[in-house]
């Protein structure tokens, strides 16, 4: 390895580190992303300068390949709506995993993996890369609602998983032992290369089977985990190629992805193992059919608008999953502006697990033009409810459900910290029905006719009507 190339890779690694550091604060995050991208450019240029290429057509193909991938990537990145961010991240992660697996395959084909360390790293790369590829693509189709929606289970799924897993181990051993293992088991001889192809296919199937039983709401965690996997696979291929840019960059992503996954599952209040294995053992969440005939205060947009404009001064808006579904960010922003123009104080309370993906709600609201200093997280907003006149809950239920704190009930959300909207003077729900949320737990607040107004409506339409009502009040 040339000194200059090594130093360039080191500079790239430092820029990745600096970039990630800056991604931790909203004010510096964008520049952090730019810095990391700049590090990538340096690593690529250094690679161009060092590879030795026999023919001009190789350069041409490299150029065409990058151009093609770049245009595809940039176009989808530019056109994707912000609500579809989870599946976009999944897709980009998937192609990365696929890239790594293919790189490792070619290395084996070329016979580049000579030492046992290189072989083991290479095998890891193939398996992790393909699982990440296939899993991410399934996650994408789930979230895009193209296929596999919900939790897909079938009989003997665990048995199949276990069989494939054993097969992968066997094939790996076979590659390491130069084809001696499968023969010893009694099967016909399999050359290492053929074993590798089967391994590749089996890993793809495993990736699919790993993700299909997991429900859509847990998908962000899975994507984050697969992201960490891809990073690790990149680090492993750094070992094989002796390339320090891959080694450091991949390790950073692997480690930070692992922590991010844990932070996310922590915010959801469920341990990681439960998400993955509960997916595999697959208990469907009991939803719906809990509507009771108890009395509620069924409010009209006019009534809500009147209360807001005449009696409320401090208003906290709590958005949830339903806001994203209804694409109601715009009307929510209008509501904020209308209320503020009347001298009201408007804050947003964002629960860590509101929305489809951790932090997703924040992205949606900032897209609609809400400045990020109005977005309060759980700890910061809860003390505010004491003197709040109206808490408007849009398309959310679980994150404000006081049942989570009820020691008498044992529900899926028991113990999860909630936004304590019940401390506000009035509570206004904007949702379509009395049906509960993801966790399927009925909300006692719905039936507090003194305090609560239920505005039964699609979030987008409902908010638009409230804005009208406030304007005309």
């Amino acid at each position: 390895m040339q000194v200059a190339t090594f130093l360039a890779y080191l500079v790239a690694a430092v820029l990745f580190i600096t970039g990630i550091r800056r991604l931790r604060k909203p004010g510096t995050a964008r520049s952090g992303n730019t810095i990391a991208a700049f590090g990538m450019v340096i690593a690529l240029v250094a690679t161009f300068l060092v590879v030795e290429v026999d023919a001009a057509w190789v350069w041409l193909l490299i150029g065409v390949g990058i151009l093609l991938g770049g245009v595809l990537g940039a176009a989808s990145a530019q056109m994707v709506p912000m609500t579809a961010m989870p599946q976009m991240v999944a897709a980009f992660n998937g192609v990365g995993g696929g890239c790594i697996a293919l790189v490792a395959l070619s290395e084996f084909y070329q016979g580049a993996a000579e030492t046992w360390v290189a072989v083991i790293s290479g095998l890891l790369t193939v398996v992790i890369g393909s699982v990440s590829f296939a899993g991410s693509i399934v996650a994408f189709t789930k979230l895009q609602e193209l296929a596999f929606t919900g939790s897909v289970v079938f009989p003997l799924q665990q048995v199949l998983n276990a069989l494939i897993f054993v097969g992968i181990l066997l094939l790996s051993a076979n590659v390491l032992a130069d084809g001696a293992i499968v023969e010893a088991v009694g099967a016909p001889f399999l050359s290492p290369l053929v074993s590798l192809y089967i391994l590749f296919a089996a890993s793809l199937v495993l990736g699919v089977l790993f993700v299909i039983p997991i429900g859509g709401a847990d998908m962000p965690i899975v994507i984050s985990l697969l992201n960490a996997f891809t990073g690790l696979a990149a680090a492993a291929s750094g070992f094989v190629l002796g390339n320090y840019a891959l080694l450091i960059g991949g390790t950073l992503v692997g480690a930070s992805g692992t922590i991010l996954t844990r932070l996310m599952s922590g915010a959801l209040g469920r341990p990681l193992g439960k998400i993955i294995f509960a997916g595999i053992t697959a208990t469907a969440t009991q939803k719906g059919d809990q509507q009771e005939d108890r009395e509620v205060h069924d409010a009209s947009p006019g009534e809500v608008g009147e209360y807001l404009s005449e009696e409320a001064n401090k208003i906290v808006i709590v958005p949830g999953y339903g806001l994203a579904v209804a694409q109601a960010q715009g009307p929510m922003h209008d509501l904020m502006e209308t209320l503020e123009s009347r001298g009201k104080e408007v804050l947003f309370g964002i629960h860590p697990v509101a929305g489809r993906m951790p932090g997703h709600m924040n992205v949606l609201l900032t897209e609609a033009g809400v400045p990020y200093d109005k977005l309060y997280d759980l700890e910061d907003i809860n003390p505010e409810f004491d003197d709040t006149d109206a808490a408007i809950i849009v398309g959310a239920n679980d994150v404000v459900n006081p049942a989570a704190n009820d020691p008498e009930q044992d529900t899926p959300i028991s113990g999860m910290p909630i936004l304590e909207v019940e401390k506000a003077k009035r509570v206004i729900f904007v949702k379509r029905s009395l049906s509960p949320g993801f966790a399927g737990v009925d909300n006692p607040l719905f039936y507090d006719t003194e305090k609560t107004m239920m505005l039964f409506s699609d979030a987008k339409q409902g908010l638009q009507e409230v804005v009208e009502a406030v304007k005309s009040a």
């Binding site: 990630i20 990538m40 193909l61 890239c99 084909y109 964002i350 900032t366 990020y372």
Partner: protein
């Protein structure tokens, strides 16, 4: 062997660094952070180029080419979409935040 050991050392220290870098990041930024680190592992594009450059058979050429396309998608799409997302994070309007108001 020497090289392997050193790589191991770098792997371990970089892993600790990765852990430290991400601990305590606010929920506000989880999505862009995931998307940006996602783009960073697109560094495998470097590996794809190195492998492709030494290709002398059809298998490697085809597989390597696909790898380059996928890697470039990961890198360019990843940074692009993160930049788009972060572009929407407006800076606070008023400087003084009223937290404990």
């Amino acid at each position: 062997m020497e090289q392997l050991l050193v790589q191991l050392a770098i792997f371990i220290i970089a892993a600790f660094l990765g852990f430290e870098l991400i601990s305590r990041v606010p929920n506000l930024l989880h999505t862009p952070l995931m998307s940006a680190t996602n783009a960073i592992h697109g560094i495998v594009l470097v590996g794809a180029i190195i492998v492709f450059a030494t290709a002398d058979d059809t298998f490697t050429i085809v597989v390597g080419f696909i790898a380059i396309v996928l890697g470039a998608m990961n890198v360019i799409g990843g940074f692009w979409v993160t930049n788009r997302m972060l572009g929407m994070f407006r800076p606070p309007v008023k400087r003084v935040r009223k937290r404990k108001g």
